[in-house]
Symmetry: C2
Subunit: 877 residues, 2 copies
């Protein structure tokens, strides 16, 4: 069947958002429910996609359909393009499936030319208005359609004002505007090399193409990436009969909200600019007034607006954001949509709508964007402070929050400064486990290297600290005592600020607003989320502090405890280093004996924090060389302890170096060469569990021991045998019949491919999607930053696969693993503990393939709970 490319507003409705875009669908809906909407039609998003497929041309079929609808519009309005007695003017507006405010282009007053301007002047009796419309159109068309910079025209206006000795635009006379229009057209010709088009149909054709084109402009691309909007959607184009808010004091343009978008208060909120077009409201050149001020001058309009606001909110069952124009005392609605709002407002509105009986709990849950909760859980910069600030760069939004403080370059300095009560930010090339205490002490962490799953990012998210990672524009000086960014040079003590939710970096200090989760609506929403979600939400927590925080935020267990993250606390690393450089199994066991009680203590605290809920402890994972001493001092210390020479220690360290450590001697490969490591860790887990179980007989503790990096079923079998033998001996010695589970991470492609074999030996699977993404793509997460930029530019990738799960490739492996795993072992319990466990769209995918739980960093637990609820509700629908 032939596609229909163009819809009159009478032909569509609000459910056709995919085809007509949000704006188009809602213009149709408003038309159908009898609201005052100018006449017009929508060119579909499919036409946009077709335009790109046709090499950026509008094909004849679509052109013909547009022409048909122009004729219909002319008939229904009784106006005609270019007509000398009753000319038709239209606006041409973009409108994608999802709202992308300000990202794409709009052209007003299209259809105007020298003939039409005269007619307008005559018919309206307002020649100044007519000529103002004309010069605005030339300016907008030149800028949007032909790429002649707006500022060039502004310069001409300024020149004119100087010549005439006036200060504001409104003081320019009709004659001035006529002259300006001529000058504008001359500049257009100079820049483009041909005359400004007079034919309205040519204007329309160019304008539609410009809107299509604007779908692909850089700021739209960035916005889409930040907001999970696929490039493939395309934008619709709305062609709407012009109504004029700039026809005098009984005219105006404005914006209205059915409730307060900042606080969520149930109170109509609107602003209006009299005698102005919509672009004047948006540009901020003049300050609009509160809508209440027209109660006296235009009481009917005010009343009508209120009624419409209520009607639309009831109709859409959500807070509405509306654009309107008043032309000679008559109200026209130009747009309505579910309004953007702060996280606080989102929660309040959703809860209030339930209380008011307008929506049910499930709808309320679906109304809140889980990602917005970040601002509730972390600090953020106030809007005003951001407006006034100078942005000097942008990195990856690695861990949300807002940081502002003096620059320090080392973890030691951060600790020292924090001890003195100073607010500092830690700026590093990259971070390593040794930096953890400094990272805690700082307001935030900024790194030049590393992606969304780099050490800095993962650790910062874990501790709820703000982090901007991988800002590759930062260039450090050779001695590391300063860096340049955005043309400035920064030394220790200089102040910068950055936003971990956007990645933006600013010069100087910005005001930070603290986050607050002591919100009744937040609690209500989380209660509802837990009621409807079907997946459990656990947390990735390595320390008792993290675990306690996660528990407070609703974690139902620990899905991932990275045992090695505790090794840098105090002087624990010493014993671990002794283990690494040991020559014999006996030496290794002696060193491991020192670590055992420390690990056991940590695990006891984790079991206690989780109050009998599941705790998964992953066995030692990273390559050993990550732990070796780096300073001469530390090397000497180790040499002395081990009775070796410094050269011998250096030799051992050099021997541990690997070409590709991510695929090297790590994970389960460690206990296969050194089984004693798994023996020690098993003892630590089981003894800890036994102690906590004894102290809390009211809980039922079932520790989960997790083998990392399995790719071969026999690896699992081998390590499991060690664990079971050790654990059973411990339990027997304690006279306990405590249950425990042995499972594995699924993070190697081969593990997913052979999940059926592995599942026979595992009680649970947990997808380690960081590594799985890395191996499936062959992207080193530490190095991919070098080329991912080009990938976004060329639209080879639209999202960072380390932040948003690649459901096509990695997801296929996960689906296979779930199906084959469950087929082989119906009792298999399956979760995810990669960074994706806290990403809403990834959580939805996990729900769709039937995972039992997701696990994420503590501060993402509420996001995951809400996302899991939304996923369950959507899937049931």
């Amino acid at each position: 069947m032939a596609k229909k490319w163009v819809y009159d507003f009478e032909e569509g409705n609000k459910d056709m958002r995919e085809l007509l875009g949000g704006k188009g669908a809602n213009l149709c809906e408003m038309t159908n429910i009898g609201l005052p909407v100018p006449k017009g039609f929508t060119i579909t998003t499919e036409a946009c996609t077709q335009y790109y497929e046709d090499g950026c041309e509008i094909n004849d079929e679509i052109k013909a359909e547009i022409a048909e609808h122009v004729a219909k519009l002319e008939a229904s309005t009784g106006k005609k393009f270019g007509d000398k007695t009753n000319p038709l003017l239209v606006s041409v507006r973009s409108g994608a499936r999802a709202s992308m405010p300000g990202m794409m282009d709009t052209i007003l007053n299209l259809g105007i030319n020298l003939d039409v301007v005269d007619t307008l002047a005559e018919k309206s009796g307002n020649p100044r208005w007519a000529w103002d419309c004309y010069r605005r159109f030339i300016q907008m068309f030149s800028d949007v359609v032909m790429g002649v910079s707006k500022s060039e025209f502004e310069k001409l206006i300024d020149k004119k004002k100087n010549e005439k000795g006036v200060k504001s635009d409104v003081e320019l006379t009709t004659e001035d505007l006529k002259e300006l229009a001529d000058e504008f057209k001359e500049m257009y010709k100079g820049a483009i090399g041909k005359d400004f088009p007079d034919d309205p149909k040519e204007q329309l054709d160019e304008a539609i193409k410009a809107v299509f084109r604007s779908w692909d402009n850089p700021r739209a691309n960035v916005y889409r990436r930040d907001n999970d909007i696929p490039y493939s959607w395309g934008t619709a184009v709305n062609v709407v009969e012009m109504v004029f808010g700039n026809m005098g004091d009984d005219s105006g343009s404005g914006v209205a909200f059915s409730r307060d978008p900042a606080t969520g208060e149930n109170k109509f909120y609107a602003e209006i600019l009299m005698n102005a077009q919509g672009e004047d409201v948006v540009s901020g050149a003049r300050t609009p007034m509160k809508i209440e001020e027209i109660q006296k001058t235009l009481p009917e309009i005010y009343k009508q607006l209120l009624e419409i606001s209520d009607k639309l909110e009831d109709h859409y069952r959500d807070m509405q954001d509306m654009e309107f124009t008043i032309e000679h005392g008559k109200l026209y609605m130009l747009q309505c949509r579910n309004g953007k709002r702060t996280a606080k407002a989102a929660l309040k509105i959703a809860c209030d709508l339930v209380k008011e009986g307008k929506i049910d709990e499930k709808t309320a849950l679906l109304q809140v964007d889980p990602r917005n909760l970040d601002t509730l859980l972390h600090g953020s910069f106030s809007k005003d402070t951001v407006k006034a600030a100078t942005q000097i760069g942008k990195g990856l939004p690695a861990a949300p929050g807002a940081a502002s403080g003096k620059i320090v370059f080392t973890a030691e300095e951060a600790k020292a400064a924090a001890a003195n009560g100073e607010k500092v930010v830690l700026v590093r090339l990259e971070t390593s486990p040794e930096d953890i205490e400094g990272m805690k002490a700082a307001q935030g962490i900024l790194t030049a290297r590393g992606g969304m799953t780099s050490h800095a990012a993962v650790v910062a998210r874990g501790m709820g600290a703000c982090c901007v990672a991988g800002c590759s524009d930062i260039t450090f000086s050779e001695d590391g005592s300063s860096f340049t960014l955005g043309g400035h040079t920064y030394k220790e003590g200089d102040v910068i600020s950055f936003d971990g939710s956007t990645g933006n970096i600013y010069d100087g200090a910005l005001t930070v607003q603290e986050g607050a989760i002591e919100d009744e609506d937040f609690a209500t929403m989380m209660k509802w989320a837990d009621k409807y979600k079907t997946m459990a939400v656990r947390t990735n927590a390595d320390t008792p502090t993290d675990a306690a925080k996660a528990r407070e935020l609703g974690a139902e267990g620990i899905g991932l405890c990275r045992t090695e993250h505790m090794f840098f606390q105090g002087n624990r690393i010493d014993a671990f280093r002794e283990m690494i450089v040991s020559d014999t199994k006996e030496e290794r066991e002696a060193a491991l004996d020192k670590i055992l009680p420390l690990q056991q203590g940590d695990f006891e605290q984790l079991f206690t924090a989780m109050e009998g809920d599941p705790v998964t402890i992953r066995f030692l994972d990273p390559p050993l060389h990550e732990f070796v001493p780096k300073t001469e001092e530390d090397i000497e210390k180790l040499a002395k302890t081990k009775g070796k020479t410094v050269d011998e220690i250096k030799g051992i360290i050099a021997g541990l170096k690997e070409a590709n450590p991510m695929m090297g001697h790590r994970g389960c490969r460690l206990p296969i060469t050194y089984p004693e490591i798994a023996v020690m860790q098993t003892k630590a887990v089981i003894r800890a569990a036994l102690n906590v179980q004894k102290a809390h007989p009211e809980w039922t503790i079932v520790p989960e021991l997790e083998v990392p990096l399995v790719g071969i079923d026999k690896e699992m079998e081998f390590v499991k045998d060690i664990i079971v033998e050790t654990a059973d001996a411990e339990l027997k010695a304690a006279g306990s019949n405590m249950q425990y589970k042995v499972g594995t991470m699924i993070e190697i492609p081969r593990a997913a491919l052979t999940a059926g074999d592995i599942a026979k030996k595992a009680a649970f699977f947990c997808f380690g999607t960081n590594d799985l993404t890395q191996m499936t793509f062959g992207f080193s997460r530490d190095d991919a930053g070098k080329f991912l930029g080009s990938y976004y530019d060329e639209k080879i990738l639209e999202n960072d696969p380390f932040a948003k799960l690649d459901t096509v490739g990695v997801g296929k492996l996960m689906k296979m693993a779930v199906e084959d795993g469950r087929a082989a072992n119906p009792d298999l319990h399956i979760g995810i503990c990669g960074e994706h466990g806290g990403d809403p769209s990834s959580v939805e995918f996990c729900n769709s393939i039937g995972l039992d739980y997701v696990s994420c960093s503590p501060f993402r637990v509420p996001i995951a709970r809400l996302a899991a609820a939304q996923a369950a509700i959507k899937q049931a629908q």
Copy 2:
């Protein structure tokens, strides 16, 4: 149905090799065709597997069945275990599905004890023989079953000979042997702590367990890995009535071959040792005589042996290796099997059997082990020289051949020495592209690091040079002027030898026999191979020399030309380095312009060498930092050329460093960031093809341009667009309508997972199984050596997945990619160009999933041709 664990020789036949092992199946077969075989039975390989499953115990069911068959044997022989009048003695022999000569254990004379020995002495009238049997049994049982070292017993024998003043064993009297038997049993008791077992049933039980256990001994494990025999097969156990070759001058034991195993000549060949048991022949303590010598003393036996040899060869239709014993002038056959033979003999025998009308061509093809061809294509050490040599270590058999020469440590020294006519071997920690000329000059390359797909291994195989890689026991001195291995220290100029087919390293010089492929039988066999194989065999060749060699060896095209391998020739690297450190696209293009004519010239030679057959040229693949200058001198040179400071160049080089370069900025990621690289390479390929096509209008050249490391369909689309645009412009400018193909490597797991999408944009797929194995397992091939040893020890892996394709995991991805790729693009042409393309078992897998071609290094082409033919024949069967 209950399993049958034991079979009498009357119950089995030659086709039951899987269940009864090779020896058991053939003992059954010989029994059934009426040859003189002692009575006995076989315990199945399944019983062995069950033994391991039961925790190294023989379960009651199996025990009962053995007892039943012992009773049957007693009945049929009229002898009884431990009987004082007619005692039964048996041998207990291992026998796996595949022949593993000398790898597992055998016990003779079982059933003997003090009572029995007296009976035997009396009945035979030969007490010395009886006591010799007894002492032999004690010795063998103690060694094989209980692990008391044989040499301890030999010491006692030597002591006895000294006491008695005699020189050889045969001079010891009956009385001496009695004393020895007592001393042996005393020593047994001292070592084991209990009396030597007298009960034949206890002896049998222990002996069977010992044979099962010997399946898992270290030398058997190594042999299996070297010979592709799965651990899961297990061994059968044969219990055979003893016949005695040591009963006097009318008795003897020997080995016979139906044709000469060294030359293949169609001539009966056998050796016999009179008055001896089989173990004496094998041990080599006495020198056997040619069988022809018994023509006079035992003419009937001689005749009978000849008849049996003919009968067995006709029956099995292959050269037979037979063991026999003559007891008091009566012949017994103890074993027959298809004989091991040299490669030369294998070819001759197979061709002769066809000529003689005994087998058809397909059977002949299946008779030759493709891996054996290596010795024909490369040099090898003579058997005698190896016997006399001192082995000092073992590395990976990375590239076949034999090397012997003076040690040099640098490529420069290798070149210089070779120029002086000296034979040298290059010993390195690892090699890099800069070493290539030195590698060519050396007799062989030995490296301390790196696996089967390391640079040294890949390059050596390509040039047909001998290479032993990854000998981790080598320790270099700090200044690199010497290394230690096997307790010796070697300096420059010292002589060592090594075998690239086994990985063995020897002290001093060994005699090298040159390989020779000018063999008529080889040519015949290759002709037949080409006739029956269905996959094409291409070669991986980077240089015109490699290409010419491969063509000579039968390559039907180039499946992989690694363009970057030519960059280190002459001073080409200079221009490439200029490209790498360029700041702008223009600078890069200027440097690339210098490289273009050089690449074009190389490609012209490749197209010419292949005479119109397909040539696949892979675009630049490795990370750029592999090419950066390493010496101060080179850095200064580059700085000067580029007008930069040395520090700036060092800064750029540091910036190119990656944490995990295998998953870094390489492959198609390079042209996505720097499209001009793909533009240059496309021009070079198309221009070269045009020139060669012009010079040879009789050929039809269709160049194949290959994009490496694709994991996302849009990567392919992006690079393909560049290639097509560039190529079409070149062809248009030349007025040519030459066809060309654009395809991709499948070497990233995600490429296999999304093969359907990628196939829509690709004319061909080529599996890069080196990288695919790396990412699928998460094994860095440069680092995996550190833990693969433990993996073999623990039987987590039985083979190096970089040498033998992992059909379970990697193979699953390949199968998916073939199916999804062909479904999306039925014209898709699919091959493999990883190192697995030359491995016979991997070739068989490739055939089974329907690949169109395999591509391997030049010297593996004949192996791949034969393997492809075998695969096709087997699949058709």
